[in-house]
Symmetry: C2
Subunit: 387 residues, 2 copies
């Protein structure tokens, strides 16, 4: 990708061509490739067969994705000589539960898969997180392959090895780190994704610009329409996003430090998801993140850490692509601010009682703030709610 | 320990004194100590407090152990200024279930423990395996401390980081590797253990001799009474066992190779446990291992790999301490040999369909056999059953 094509993206990551792109996640012996390109699902069987002889797989997916994309995947597996079983679960966040985990584990064990065999996640982040957790605990860890089908999963959840489920105490509070052996991101399957889900995934794409790639954010402001319409900008944006996440993950696999930057917008976002009972009608994950990122920039400005202008620019771009950016954009009533704050405090990024947030000095200048006073967050949120 | 005290133990490991012994498990940044000594439980709070400031803990235990040993532990924690909650589960193998796992996870999350806080397992291998699994998945891994109270847990399950639960498909098929931060083995709590459970744990002690410490096995033949009666031989045998296991674990943390030697007697043993529906009235784990070790030696002799005499010597010693050593020693009927073989094949040590066993060239000369023909095992077992 050249400067002119990238609209000012100063760190060219990959070329703006329609050919398949490969991003490597460098984790020593556990390094793996992310394949990105259009129509890759048809050849997924071959790519998986290349991982090892005589491998068998269990494909985990959800009802919506199964209807649209399971057949070509299974056909490709059969063509490649890979014995495969499949399990179709209900679509939606509620599937990230202990009950569904037990179902997946039982399915994999009933098929008598061994450590060298693989669990294949075909779906969005819900299926990826759940299946990866199951792959991480069956026989104390089996092979795992991600075939992400939502934009969010392609740019975020399928990369990095975080897996997990939700409990009544909060989101993602139970899980393991379990890296995949391969990620296959077919950009064409995104054509069947609803506009709403596509936009939600786009929030995570924008996040990488906001963390530490200001030029990428500017490129997105100029090129987002090509990403949405399925132009070559789509694979480009996905590759830059994967590379951004892969870099952070390689530097900090277990989230001891820098990896926390990926939580930009997520502390507020998770609290909003909890406050809306993970009801996807009211708020999906990426929407929570969009509002959360705007709140993080505004709170940073409120704390005199960043300019109001940057916060406004973030809000403007996310609103332009059609994402919610305000608490008031969420349908229905929100619980009192105290309850929101409780959700924030139960969030797993809490350390020994102190509130940790990802704040920013401006677009592309996010940082980890360890000692954010709860009272200040409370005041700030109260202001947002009674404008 | 000198040669004369050790009855021929050629590699003196620790001295035969009543002082506290420490065995280190060397795993780089995840190294930890095993403290071994009489009465350590009273000072456990202090030892735990030394791990970190302001730590909070959730103690997980079973009804039997709670009645006998929970109060002194909780008192010591309180004295050391550690906030602690406790959860008491039913005693027995059935507690290694998804249901109990969910209970522990819920208990830990309800107490709002964070990553730097600890789950403390006070009990035998069941409580240790279950609690360690919970500690490994809550917030994708929190601190974990083992206070093993059975002989088996002190010499085996509390060391090495293997955690897990059982499912209807088999034992320990679901779990994670999660190393403890500290192991506190109080040799005095073993005084309340039933004779049967003590003997079962002793099978694992003997195992270390049979794997690669022939002199230790000879020392056990001469000194076992002191171990059973609570003499200084007890802490000695526990320390040698922990050191033996720690060495193997340090060399092969994730069970890719040499660690499999620790499964001597376990492939047969697990099949027998499954065949008796994990009914502790009929067979406890160490008893299955005792019979399994005798079978492994006899099968090795049957395959002309080891002498009949060594197999006979193993059988004699285990029978002398009161352990079952024959299929016929198990109360009630066993299922047909085909079913036993099915249990063996579902065992997680199976690799791509080939039967893997730990066989031996004689006492202290165990090795990993990757390609044991199922038909030969079938014939051998049939012979044992119709003597
Ligand atoms: N592990 C991580 O690092 C990580 C990172 C970010 C988010 N997450 C998790 O990811 C989840 C959200 O992911 P998500 O937004 O993909 O949710 P999702 O898996 O629920 O997918 C969203 C919806 O889109 C549908 N869908 C997916 N692909 C489709 C396609 N190609 N065509 C038509 N419909 C399709 C699904 O059936 C679902 O209804 C959350 O649970 C979040 O916690 C995990
Ligand atoms: N993780 C590993 O590496 C590993 C290794 C070997 C065995 N294991 C597992 O360990 C389990 C067996 O361990 P176990 O034999 O300790 O079983 P256990 O935990 O069930 O304990 C046996 C019985 O002794 C009782 N007990 C324990 N300590 C006592 C004490 N001090 N006084 C009186 N009663 C006491 C318990 O209540 C229980 O009824 C199996 O599930 C096995 O799979 C795990
Ligand atoms: Zn996210
Ligand atoms: Zn054992």
């Amino acid at each position: 990708m050249t400067e002119s094509q990238s609209g000012g993206l100063s760190q060219p990551a990959v070329t703006l061509s329609t050919a398949q792109k490969t991003v490597q996640v460098a984790l020593g012996a556990r390094s793996y490739d992310i394949l990105i390109g259009t129509g890759l699902i048809d050849g997924a069987g071959k790519a998986i067969a290349a991982l090892g002889d005589g491998m068998r797989v269990a494909v985990i997916t959800d009802e919506t994705v199964a209807r649209l994309h399971l057949d070509p995947l299974m056909a490709g597996l059969a063509d490649a000589g890979i014995a495969a079983v499949s399990l179709v679960l209900p679509a939606g966040e509620k599937t990230k539960s202990f009950e569904a985990l037990m179902q997946v584990v039982d399915h994999v064990l009933a098929a008598r898969l061994e450590r060298g065999d693989a669990v294949v996640a075909l779906g969005g982040g819900v299926i990826g997180d759940l299946s990866g957790f199951a792959a991480g605990i069956v026989r104390r860890g089996m092979r795992f392959i991600q075939v992400p089908t939502s934009l969010l999963a392609q740019v975020d959840s399928s990369v990095g090895g975080k897996t997990g489920i939700n409990t009544s105490h909060g989101k993602n509070l139970v899980g393991v780190f379990h890296q995949p052996d391969l990620v296959i991101a077919d950009t064409k399957v995104l054509d069947t994704l609803s506009d709403r889900e596509f936009r939600a995934g786009y929030a995570e794409v924008a996040k990488y610009g906001l963390i530490d790639r200001p030029d990428f954010f500017a490129w997105l402001e100029a090129n987002w329409r090509g990403i949405f319409s399925g132009g070559p900008e789509r694979a480009e944006a996905i590759a830059v996003s994967c590379r951004a996440k892969a870099e952070v993950v390689a530097a900090d696999e277990r989230e001891a430090g820098r990896r926390a930057l990926l939580n930009l917008g997520h502390t507020f976002g998770h609290a909003l998801e909890a406050a809306t009972q993970y009801d996807g009608q009211r708020l999906v994950h990426g929407e929570g993140v969009a509002i959360g990122m705007v709140l993080a920039h505004e709170f940073s400005s409120h704390m005199n850490l960043a300019s109001r202008d940057d916060a406004a620019r973030v809000q403007r771009h996310l609103a332009e692509v059609g994402l919610p950016t305000r608490l008031g954009d969420i349908a229905g009533a929100l619980p009192p601010t105290d309850v929101l704050l409780d959700h924030i405090a139960q969030d797993k990024k809490v350390r020994r009682g102190a509130l940790t947030f990802i704040l920013t000095h401006g677009i592309g200048q996010a940082f980890i703030a360890d000692d954010v006073p709860g009272a200040e967050v409370h005041r700030f949120l109260e202001e947002r709610r009674s404008p």
